[in-house]
């Protein structure tokens, strides 16, 4: 099955959730589906549990930050895998900074637990229904979300650092 055929196949088997799919396209080897944030749980449940699609494996999920995109400033990208048919899809959803709440997928995949904690930790995405939404890699006292684009890394060429403070 080519990627385009897979894309059409997924769309034709998703009529009950078609109102939740904003747009869909083929990007290299991945059919991509942009869905409405409010319906993410319903859409993922369909992708996972529909007998035709059965994308039963959550490969990865990650958050995105596009400060210039206004209503689409933050995003979540999910990669799903159907291991029997060996097909993969990418599901995306975008939301503004004022509304960082999105349904958690832990009820569908226990593996989403730490993946979502990680994205909360770095981007501050608020997963609703997550059993234990705490920071995971950074320290608990941290009061900002470091992967957001407003926190640039230190410029490698800065000269206000004095060597004597660093034992050099």
């Amino acid at each position: 099955m080519t990627t385009q055929e897979l894309h059409d196949f997924v769309l034709s088997n998703s009529e009950n959730i078609s109102s939740s799919i904003v747009t869909s396209y083929v990007d290299r080897d991945f059919p991509c589906f942009e869905v409405k944030k409010e319906n993410i749980l319903e859409v993922m449940k369909h992708f996972k549990e529909s007998t035709e699609l059965s994308f039963g494996f959550l490969t990865t999920c990650c958050a995105m930050h596009f400060p210039e995109q206004g209503d689409k400033e933050f995003g979540m990208v999910y990669h799903l895998h159907n291991m029997q048919a060996n097909t993969r899809i990418r599901v995306k959803t975008f939301f503004p900074k004022s509304d960082l709440k999105i349904s958690s997928l832990v009820s569908l995949w226990p593996s989403a637990n730490w993946m979502e904690r990680q994205e909360y930790d770095f981007f501050g995405v608020q997963f609703q229904g997550h059993p234990d939404l705490r920071r995971i890699l950074n320290m608990d006292e941290m009061n900002y979300f470091p992967m957001r684009k407003e926190y640039p890394l230190e410029d490698a060429g800065r000269d206000d650092k004095q060597d004597k403070y660093f034992g050099r």
Binding site: N86, S111, Q118
Partner: protein
């Protein structure tokens, strides 16, 4: 494993003790903390803490040109860094639509399978050590050293290898590397057989590992297991077969699977994979085509240093790559390789700039380690140690 708790952790009749296992503990082989609620010798509940060696790789990657991200990937699963390097190179090659010549692909396969053997040597011998069999560890572990010597001949480094370039290999194997590789292929099977004879059917080892920390295929998939740990539970998923990269489709090999997903199966699957890797390396050497070792993509392939000093074109391209003057295609790609621990994925978003806009690592350890509390609750403390070493949790990959 049943999800209904056998023991109620809030039972007022019971007097539980709290045991802090880690963060630095000789038996955990890395910086892992687990706060265990213990009923005598039995684990009632476990609460893992991760992030002790978090180095913000995803953020760092947003600040570095593509060629400079390879050394970051070294430090993910540092027991098999070449696989991570190759995975990253292939991700960028996918983005820039670059087809690597067959010879480079075969050389990559040889390197990746060598590092898979090195990775599995670490895991399997450490399982043996944790169950009390020090001898097997001492006999087999020196072969990891021999593999590192081969890497040293290929790229100059041993642990954090930075092997290869975007677009192919940086240089072909030299004669010393071939000699060491040939000697390794000749001698290692004997050592592996010896280890096999010492440990695999050893009565004590079998008694300790069978039914220790089991997980069913269904739970393993729900927890996002990949790699040897998933195969030990009986699911024959291997990225090398499911989505062949770097000419893996040219080689004959079987994907070993277990049945119960316990420590013994994880051990046995890795042992079988080492034999398969040996066979793949031999096939790659036998079929090794001649030809160039890198694709003709001067805008992305870092030229050799002596060319930079002697030829104008090489100097220009070197400058353009290092200073980020090359036009990188805009787009997003996901590429996965079969790492030492499972599906190591790279999700790369490029906005055409000098550095990735976003780079997300799918780190197999991080995803499957969350099943650890479920796998050890209801078992003994000593089984928890064995379960952890058999899952091959590598701190660098866990914390990124």
């Amino acid at each position: 494993m049943s999800t209904t708790p056998i023991i109620n952790p809030n039972d007022p009749e019971k007097d539980y003790s709290i045991l802090n296992l880690g963060p630095t503990h000789p038996a955990t082989h890395g910086i892992f903390q687990n706060v265990l609620t213990m009923d005598g010798e039995m684990i009632v509940k476990a609460e893992p803490t991760v992030g002790y060696i978090h180095r913000a790789f995803e953020k760092l990657a947003e600040h570095r040109p593509y060629a400079q991200i390879t050394p970051i990937t070294d430090r993910l699963n540092y027991c098999s860094s070449p696989i991570n390097n190759m995975g990253w190179h292939m991700t960028v090659e996918k983005l820039i639509n670059c087809e690597v010549p067959k010879r480079a692909q075969y050389l990559r396969v040889i390197i990746m399978e060598l590092s898979r053997i090195a990775d599995h040597i670490v895991c399997d011998t450490v399982i043996a050590v944790d169950s009390g069999a020090m001898t097997g560890f001492l006999y087999l572990f020196q072969w990891r050293e021999k593999i590192y010597e081969i890497f040293e001949e290929i790229c100059g480094a041993r642990l954090t290898t930075n092997i290869g370039r975007i677009g192919g290999m940086d240089k072909d194997f030299n004669e010393k590397a071939w000699n060491k590789l040939t000697a390794f292929l000749k001698e290692f099977p004997k050592a592996l057989k010896e280890f096999d004879a010492l440990v695999t059917r050893n009565r004590i080892f079998v008694d300790r590992t069978v039914n220790c920390g089991p997980i069913t295929a269904e739970r393993a998939l729900a927890y996002g297991f990949t790699g040897s740990n998933l195969r030990a539970a009986g699911v024959d998923y291997d990225v090398r077969v499911a989505a062949p990269y770097s000419s893996y489709e040219d080689f004959e090999f079987t994907v070993p699977v277990g049945t119960t997903g316990d420590t013994y199966d994880r051990y046995a699957v890795r042992m079988a994979e080492m034999w398969e890797s040996m066979s793949i390396i031999q096939q790659a050497i036998d079929k090794l085509p001649s030809g160039p070792i890198h694709a003709d993509v001067p805008e992305f392939y870092l030229p050799a240093k002596e060319l930079v000093y002697s030829s104008m074109e090489a100097l220009i391209y070197h400058f353009k790559i290092v200073m980020g003057e090359t036009d990188i295609p805009i787009g997003e790609v996901y590429h996965a390789v079969e790492g030492g621990n499972g599906e190591l994925g790279f999700y790369l978003v490029s906005d055409g700039g000098r550095t990735p806009y976003r780079l997300h690592f799918r780190r197999p350890c991080f995803i499957y380690y969350q099943a650890y509390p479920e796998m050890i609750s209801g078992g003994m403390l000593s089984d928890a140690i064995l379960t952890m070493s058999s899952m091959n949790v590598i701190a660098g990959e866990l914390d990124a």
